[in-house]
Symmetry: D2
Subunit: 145 residues, 4 copies
Amino acid sequence: MSPLTPQDSDFESRIRQSFSRQGAMTTLGAELTDVKPGRVVIELRHHEALTQHHGYLHAGMLTTIVDNACGYAASSLMAADSEVVTVEFKVNFIAPAKAPRYRAVGSIVRAGRTLTVCSGEVLALTAEGEQPVATMLATMMAVSP
Amino acid sequence: MSPLTPQDSDFESRIRQSFSRQGAMTTLGAELTDVKPGRVVIELRHHEALTQHHGYLHAGMLTTIVDNACGYAASSLMAADSEVVTVEFKVNFIAPAKAPRYRAVGSIVRAGRTLTVCSGEVLALTAEGEQPVATMLATMMAVSP
Amino acid sequence: MSPLTPQDSDFESRIRQSFSRQGAMTTLGAELTDVKPGRVVIELRHHEALTQHHGYLHAGMLTTIVDNACGYAASSLMAADSEVVTVEFKVNFIAPAKAPRYRAVGSIVRAGRTLTVCSGEVLALTAEGEQPVATMLATMMAVSP
Amino acid sequence: MSPLTPQDSDFESRIRQSFSRQGAMTTLGAELTDVKPGRVVIELRHHEALTQHHGYLHAGMLTTIVDNACGYAASSLMAADSEVVTVEFKVNFIAPAKAPRYRAVGSIVRAGRTLTVCSGEVLALTAEGEQPVATMLATMMAVSP
């Protein structure tokens, strides 16, 4: 068995339903573009309503989408009836975020029974290519209902 | 001279103007309630548009306001013509966030010439009192224009 | 019941025995100077054998003692038969460490059933007083045997 | 010019000399096994003198070698007369460390003029292969003398 084998065959629709219930994702206009075992991608268009005082995307908005990407990456391998909560994360902001679109990728570093460690990256997507703007290291927890 | 003496007498209006230019703060409905040298407070009302899938305030939204509180706390002691940018932060989420209102407090741990280390806290404000829901340790940087 | 009430009356001797079994603490010459519910203090004398290339105490040595202070602070409130393990920590180094002696203080921010969040501080102790040199935010976990 | 081009041809000997002046590295018995532009490897043999109370390598010792690997990775691209200091790091401990030998690898995520972001990993080396035991995300700073 691969270390990235989900416990339920329905993990993608489970995650897509959860995403659609997040008021914050609707407010940001974020899209859940890819859901694989242990790896989830969320994209976001740049919008003035999400900026800091110089017109860059706010660090908190970058954090919001990559936190979700990491959380759902962890969730993809958890039991269908458990919930994922963010224990903590650390984010480094490595370049100003001013691009038409952003892609947050969350990946599992190590999945444990209770805790899952994830790494995340946010890329700025421009006509010239992609550039990393933020990198995350996060701890997610499975909580039984 | 106190270690918390601003370099400009006008630091509060400088910070309030910067805050008012942040599209993200308008979108969230956040308020800059207190600006002191080395300590800044931002408050936010709970709103469904800012929640995750269980109706709690999204971790990214908590992070957004406490990042700003820490950034402006650092900025309060910086030269008026420099800009503050978030180098990195780490946040622990210590209780579910479901309260009518939240208060983010950012404080300086150590102000350096280039880098300032800040600690932040988000409190849930209820009729029964306040409860910490998140704690941040952040590194801010002064950038010359 | 206070939130800082240990589950066993014998927590101090339990922690002191654990400390004495740590080869690393003997190698560093660290001393467990104070054990209170939710707050533990470890001290260390400066020694050339623990320095980086400029004669400052190595960041890893500061981290080692404050990780232990935080871990034992968490352990003080855990069940006597559980083990504490460090899930993760973040440390900011805020001043060069060159003093005759250092004091690491670990304190509980929030004690949970499985996870405990701690904050730690390392102070440089000199004839003139104490100065913070490092600050930690850590997540500790109780593991059943 | 590659983004990983050192500013001085002599970066390896400069780093090796710095490493040899670290009292802490001698005490731990750590070896600087590989120095490439933007990537540095340090190895350490398991020893009882470096353990916590269950005989695992102490989290602080893992941190010490991976902090150095990251710091020297950053230093490899810095000006020969500048010094590298650790601003902060975060480490997740993802498996117990009980192996004959450990390898810490530090790599540059993004090199800036003042700040360099690095990622680090510690692997446990056994007869069966390598297993990650810790992962670091760190911020390093170039300081002019």
